[in-house]
């Protein structure tokens, strides 16, 4: 499925926001403390709102009559373009926060790049989302530092989370043919140009959190799994099943 770089760009951005929004929403009512429960629900709301903006654009660009809901609830795993990082299960709260931080640290610079897009609709959405992403990054950085540089238990959990999640970062900073097409069309930044800001943020926050960055993030790139090409990890199917079952079981249901 390649309906042109603008469609692919909108799907990639929308699916990242949608899937991470779905993941963090699962904490609603279950987070370790009330304030975090509220924060997670609010971050999830922002992301799902952003997903709606991007997927609406994708539907318009595609011109096949699919709206944001049709794209969110009626596509199969192979047609989702989110990066693998965001679909990883919540794990413990440390892993959820680390996943959020790694995504936010990448999300903000790519949105800042997209604000300069030659396509006005992309620049408008990115301008809106960048403000929210900046606030998310501020919060997730703060928590990663406090828990990393915290007790022996919290530090061990944050280090384990970083070790587990860091390999998934490779896909976010290595451009594929579609990323190149997006940049060549003037729709978005080259991934190489935003990687510096991402790496600097991750290095600075890890250092302040007394966490050690794993050394070889590139190894998963060679593997068969790449979310943005539609090759997802096993857990993704279960996520989709939960997210989509109602629209699948009762097509067109509304309330």
């Amino acid at each position: 499925m390649n309906a042109g770089p603008l469609f692919e760009l909108a799907l990639r951005m929308g699916d990242n926001a949608l899937i991470l929004g779905q993941r963090v929403s699962a904490w609603c009512g279950h987070a370790p403390v009330l304030e975090e429960d509220i924060a997670m629900a609010n971050v999830g709301l922002d992301l799902i709102g952003q997903a709606k903006l991007w997927l609406t654009l994708a539907g318009e660009v595609e011109g096949a009559g699919r709206d944001a809901d049709a794209l969110a609830f009626l596509r199969d795993s192979r047609d989702f373009r989110n990066v693998l990082l965001v679909e990883q299960p919540n794990g413990d709260y440390g892993r959820t926060l680390m996943r959020q931080f790694l995504f936010d640290a990448w999300h903000l610079p790519i949105l800042k790049g997209l604000r300069q897009s030659g396509e006005a609709r992309v620049a408008d959405i990115a301008g809106k989302c960048a403000k929210e992403a900046a606030y998310h990054l501020d919060r997730s950085s703060d928590l990663v530092i406090r828990l990393g540089d915290g007790t022996a238990e919290s530090r061990a959990r944050m280090q384990a989370a970083l070790d587990f999640l860091f390999p998934f970062v490779a896909e976010m900073t290595a451009a594929d043919a579609i990323d190149d097409e997006i940049a060549a069309a003037g729709l978005g930044p080259r991934l190489a140009d935003i990687t510096r800001e991402f790496s600097d943020t991750v290095a600075a926050v890890s250092a302040a959190a007394t966490l050690a960055l794993p050394s070889a993030p590139a190894r998963t790139v060679a593997g068969p799994w790449r979310g943005k090409a539609g090759r997802h990890t096993e857990e993704f199917g279960r996520l989709l099943a939960e997210m989509q079952w109602m629209q699948r079981a009762y097509p067109g249901v509304s309330w």
Binding site: E35, I38, K52, K128, K131
Partner: protein, 176 residues
């Protein structure tokens, strides 16, 4: 209404037999935010334009946060309010650029927030991260001895704070 609150708004002359745009703006003073009812949609700075297009009135609204659940409720209450005033064809249009900022909350709106127990946003959003995003004083007792509890609160636009003197928790309408 201050100059900043008016910036970016477009007022279009209404056709004959239809109320002036300025009058519709005044009617919108009576449309409350569903989550923070002391604020009107005008106080919040989310109305970007009131225009006559053919035989319908188009109200352009900018969402505060992308996922704010109040957005749909606000559009509905604007439509209802204008219909009650006798306008039959009303359309509420969403516009995301330029992105909404708390800089557009009116000075009167800020005072209403404080009186309601919510600390208003401190500083201009355009000043960026150089300034700490924190309330200056407790909206209940006025003490400057305040501390953050959580970056988020009961709605996307608020954070949770606590006063070290009167010991009350309170919401801060965060600068955005």
């Amino acid at each position: 209404m201050d100059a900043a609150g008016l910036s970016g708004r477009v007022m279009v002359r209404a056709l004959e037999a239809r109320p002036e745009a300025a009058e519709i703006w005044r009617w919108l003073d009576d449309v409350p935010d569903p989550e923070i009812p002391v604020l009107s949609v005008n106080d919040l700075g989310i109305i970007r334009a009131v225009e006559a297009a053919g035989d319908e009135v188009v109200v352009t609204v900018t969402p505060t946060y992308s996922g704010c659940p109040a957005t749909a409720a606000i559009a509905l209450s604007i439509e209802e309010a204008l219909r009650r005033r006798g306008l039959t064809r009303v359309r509420v249009k969403s516009q995301i650029s330029p992105a909404w900022t708390t800089d557009w909350i009116s000075p009167a709106g800020r005072e209403k927030l404080r009186a309601y127990g919510i600390a208003p946003p401190e500083g201009a959003a355009c000043a960026g991260a150089a300034l700490r995003n924190a309330p200056k004083t407790c909206p209940r007792c006025g003490s400057a001895h305040v501390e953050e509890v959580s970056r988020f609160g009961s709605t996307p636009c608020k954070a949770s704070w606590r006063c070290g003197d009167c010991l009350e928790p309170f919401d801060y309408f965060k600068r955005f």
